[in-house]
Symmetry: D2
Subunit: 423 residues, 4 copies
């Protein structure tokens, strides 16, 4: 790794505090005259990371050697992805597939990168991929596409609230022009207002092309919010008023869509169900009925699925997506229809916030995963890469659902756990 030591990794393994400058710095950190986040002002990035890590190691009496071994390009990361960096976490990366997909954007066979520490997950998804591929592939459709931000304003009273809402409707074009002036990529695709008492929520939606787009829409919303506040006298309370809704499970995202709304499905024949899953169509239907529908309804759950979160989280981490977006991304409804020829299984993901540019997509290992899927960087035309990624993830979720439903139907779950040894 010597060849790229300049900007990558930290392979020197010297003892902490081995130079005079280091000694000075540790002293300053300890006495508080230098803050941890100020290290980059004093040292080049790699050195700052090392010094910070070593300081933490000293303070906590630990050895952090593995955290210090990495190969990603740091210059970019410390500016865009992570402050106060001390190294990286290495998350095991497996692949499942090939998975045959017949989407609008994803067409062909894909290997799914899954970053996870949960034993049995990759194997489970892999089995689902195999079943789908044997069945002729997963059908996938993008149903809606739009990232949202919803500032909240305080009106003086309910009449004023309605006036604010009316003003927004009447100035849609002006607001769109202003919103789009803040970005060279995105297009505003909608504004909807909601009133609860004196709180006015203005949900602004953007086509963010290949970006996940939270930042884009937040900046645009700031501009829009300012205009609304100025024109109406409503007080801007928060740029995000939780009707966006970001990183919280929320019915509004299911109903209005947020990020990429995707549905994926596959028809399984009686024969295939029997061979791959050692069960039958009626059992699959019954597991989905009693567990994913009746069970979730009884639990007051917003997730009507078996393990959507597992696949979404693992693919998000692998592909440089925001891991916290697995919350919205996994609010999935899984359906199993009994058909004459077997079953038709589908997953509906109303709110999958993904992008192929920005965020963590540029971190080297994550970028490599996007390349595995053929979706790194901006698409041609813009937006197609992100939509392709959304389609692939939805197909991956379908694979995970199929596999777990099949395993449960065949009552293999506990045995699988015992063998594969999850903690």
């Amino acid at each position: 790794m010597a060849d790229d030591a300049e900007h990558r990794g930290d392979t020197t393994r010297e003892e902490p505090g081995n130079t005079e400058k280091d000694q000075v710095i540790y002293t300053q950190l300890r006495n508080g005259s230098l803050k941890l986040y100020e290290l980059e002002k004093e040292l080049p990035p790699l050195d700052a990371i090392r010094a910070r890590r070593e300081f933490i190691a000293q303070q906590t009496g630990t050895s952090l050697e593995n955290i210090g071994i990495f190969s990603i390009d740091i210059e970019r990361v410390v500016k865009r992805n992570c402050e106060n960096m001390i190294g990286t976490i290495q998350v095991p990366l497996g692949v499942a597939g090939p998975l045959l997909i017949a989407g609008e954007y994803a067409q062909g066979s894909y290997y799914l990168p899954l970053a996870t520490t949960e034993g049995a997950l990759v194997a489970s998804v892999n089995r689902g991929c195999s079943a789908i591929t044997k069945a002729g592939g997963a059908q996938v459709c993008i149903l809606h596409d739009g990232m949202t931000r919803a500032p909240v304003f305080a009106a003086e009273n309910v009449v004023h609230a309605k006036q604010v809402s009316d003003w927004v409707k009447a100035h849609y074009d002006d607001l769109r022009t202003a919103a789009e002036s803040t970005t060279s990529h995105g297009k505003m695709t909608g504004i909807v207002t909601y009133i609860t008492g004196t709180s006015v929520f203005v949900r602004i939606e953007f086509d963010t092309k290949d970006a996940m787009g939270m930042n884009m829409v937040t900046i645009a919303s700031a501009k829009v919010a300012e205009m609304i506040a100025l024109a109406t006298g409503a007080r801007l309370i928060a740029l995000s008023g939780n009707m966006c809704t970001d990183k919280k499970p929320a019915a509004i995202n299911r109903i209005m869509g947020r990020g990429r709304s995707v549905v994926a499905g596959v028809a399984l024949s009686h024969d295939l169900i029997s061979k791959v899953f050692k069960t039958n169509a009626k059992n699959l239907v019954e597991v989905n009925y009693r567990k994913n529908l009746v069970g979730s309804a009884s639990a007051g759950s917003m997730g009507f699925n078996a393990q959507a979160a597992n696949v979404v989280a693992a693919m998000f981490i692998a592909c440089g997506q925001d891991a916290a977006h697995a919350i919205d991304g996994s609010t999935c409804i899984t359906t199993v229809d009994l058909t004459d020829s077997g079953v038709y299984v589908a997953v509906t993901l109303p709110s999958l916030p993904v992008g192929t540019v920005g965020g963590g997509t540029g971190v080297d290992t994550q970028q490599e995963c996007l390349r595995i899927l053929g979706v790194a960087g901006g698409g041609e035309p813009a937006g197609t890469n992100a939509r392709k990624l959304a389609e692939i993830i939805a197909a991956g979720v379908l694979a995970g659902e199929l596999s777990l439903l099949g395993a449960l139907a065949a009552q293999h779950l506990a045995r699988a756990h015992q063998q594969l040894g999850r903690g």
Copy 2:
């Protein structure tokens, strides 16, 4: 890194398919006579990983060099954490803190490891930590502790369903004995049954000590479920009937608790609010009221918070927790009380599934993060490390909430985004 090349990393960077054996293997993989998951049967782990990675690189026409650079102990990982491994994802790791905590288990000052690619997050949490520490530290309490699994059975009719439920209640001791026979660590702490039509859900709860415990309780549930099915004639439909509820947002977890239920809070004086957050108590209260309470209620959201998911996901990835558990882990209610002296801010996390043994906790980089927090491995007495980790994460969530509420109150969010450049 030469010294531990045997079991760690992959620094050779040879061209793919550079040996005769490799050539044979690639041919077999291509023609399907060898499956990707069978590579470990043919090759030692590191070689299997390399061969698989190179095959994927070939198939997808990509270069995966960074994925192939890692230092974690592979032997353990391929058995317990990840199948079909091709390398690792490097997730940038930052630290926030020090954070002063006054919990029952966590007492003192901590640096929080946060694995994230979301720019501004670590800085945001850091600011919250600073505020909490200046305020004298976060109070934290564990309210409940119990991991659950809920098999679902099909009864013949509603009368039978009630009989099944009654049988379970009448045989609590027998079931507990059987359940506990499957584990040397855990203790069964409860069984509750729920009936919906002919579906009977048996929610089994365990004190899983320092393990997150899903595996433990699943294995025990299999045993219990078998006994119930045998004795009552109810058909076991699925070992998990979604009333557990695992990795889905669910009211049952808020009401009954699941994993570690934790609450953390801090009192901020008027003076501190003004100095650290450049705002005042009334503004903080109003942001929380209109955004986290009214906004979330209006959105039909189960998350009444600002950014709990960000902190939970980043700490989970850093500390080897199951990232998909960020879904349950982040169903947080944030409250801001107006007090005479300022505000009292609290976060309530009813369902934080964490452990310090098993799962991804043994992966080297993750283990190092646990060591930073002083919670690696089993606690003395058993369970105290996991509870300590839960307390620290809750305090971290509190820091994140404080910081974002403060930023919103001061209307700095968009500006922060612009400067720190999230995609």
Copy 3:
């Protein structure tokens, strides 16, 4: 009552089965050769009602004399409102008010008719009315107006589902024309489609003018559904697919609106709070915060209010609305803002399904209640009476909320119960 005995009431009080014809009929009813619902074929309405009631009295060994005493016009009722009629239930009717309202449609002072058996309710609402009136009246706005029905179709697969949805969007005008051909009053104001797996929900929205409009939109939906099924090959599964959503609490109604969406609010000064409610602004805010917001969030509730259901149910019964619509009608969010001068209290009712023609509005006693409010029959222009009714009910809910929050704040609830003696 002799003057209108022909079509009203049943004052004769003869013994059951007192004529030969009666004897024959009872025999036939007993041996099953005549069904209860066939009585109207054999007898004039009043006689059929009496015969049925007397048969039930005989069968159950009861005396049903009060049920048999009524004055409403039966001809209309047995055709439109109730089959198998045996009489009426007399629900005590109280009035609260006067309540000063400043709405768009309701302007002036109103007495609210409340049909209830819940002691203390009318008194409670009355106190709220008094406070609002003293405060200068309730502000009320209609935010949205549209009754919906959402048939559900089964598509063959997810691609077909998207095609169905696309077809609907492309044929909006045709569908509207067809929909409106089924009614001389209503106007179709929207169609939105939702896809979950292979299920396609087509949510059709109508401006139903002064009718509550469920019947109107259902008939129109039948027409639309038939066209969609024919054109797309999707199978119509149910004319109501529960995304309407009718008589079930549902987030979709809060987000999209259903029926009349109304918001009402009032500013209370410190002085008024003190005088009327014997408490202060901070206490009112705190009760709302901990009970209606935090409490409801913690309970996994969709109702963020104190007693909206009480007022909605009582006014619905009084005014001939569908009592089961109190479910949707009461999904209210109550907000209490702390202001410089006191508090601003508001109620938001996203889904109030009300009408002033059709349904039970023509029953004599109910009609009289509508007249008390000045909203009986169709408005000029059409729709204004129903909207006025919605505004008045919202103001009534506001009165109920104010009163109960005030009572709780002053910790008078239990005492009030003890004195007024609810069972």
Copy 4:
């Protein structure tokens, strides 16, 4: 009706203001020196009602003659059920049945009284009753029985909150003794505490025997709350903290039960489905699957049923239950299992708050309905009448579900509406 004019009805029909005393009173009412609610102090109940009604008629320029015609015993009603009374609303009452029920408490054949103005409802339920009876009757079980009230307290901080909760657990017996000292009938069956931030909710559960019991448990809760506040220093914020949860749809009631939790089911053979519903088992299953399960899940609904609210509301009004309790009472999950012999249909009602004493049960017409069902007054032993009523209502809901699902399956809904003419 002259014979009981003293305490019943108002048949005189004199012109308003026909006596000198009346004239004085109207003048006082108009100038505000006498309040509407003070009339009972000046006049005997019937006269007060008449004077108030005539005053309202004058003020609103309406004739309220039907409202003034009633036969119920007023003395009791004005004290217990309704303040500011001006008469009654006559709600049409139909019967459905006979309905064969095989419950623990309800055993035999019942006619269901339904008070409604919704055309087609009684006919619909009647068809369901017929199907159930032909199928051999509805099985019904009470799963849980307990009315709850949950005061909310403010603790100083989260540590204090936990102390309050711990104190409650440690003093369970003392609190029970105190709670039960406030009632001669009820038994406290549980206290559960919930903490959200600094808010502590203490959910107190009572076996309220034949009473619905809200009042009983509220009075007991006041006593308990006072003790807790005194002992712990927590401030009592509201006697009802919305975790009860009363008259709002709430997951906590589904999970913990509230009022009577009931399940009812029936097996329908292929033959019967075909004959009664003109459809088949697969269609019934599919309607329930796509509408009640997938549709409700997609709508973010808490009601997974077709028309539970219709039956609950109509029976509640008929039987003197609190109509606003139809909100909790109708949070029903309807399930349709495909079986070898046809289908098994069930309804699960986790929170049916009913009683046969107190509330509106003593109003004459309502009492007569309870007598029709054989459940008027207290049961022997105490509680059995209320439980029997709960079983009957659940069976009635089952009838309604069956009928509507069958109608939808056969696509008859719109036609039925057209014929029966709902507005």
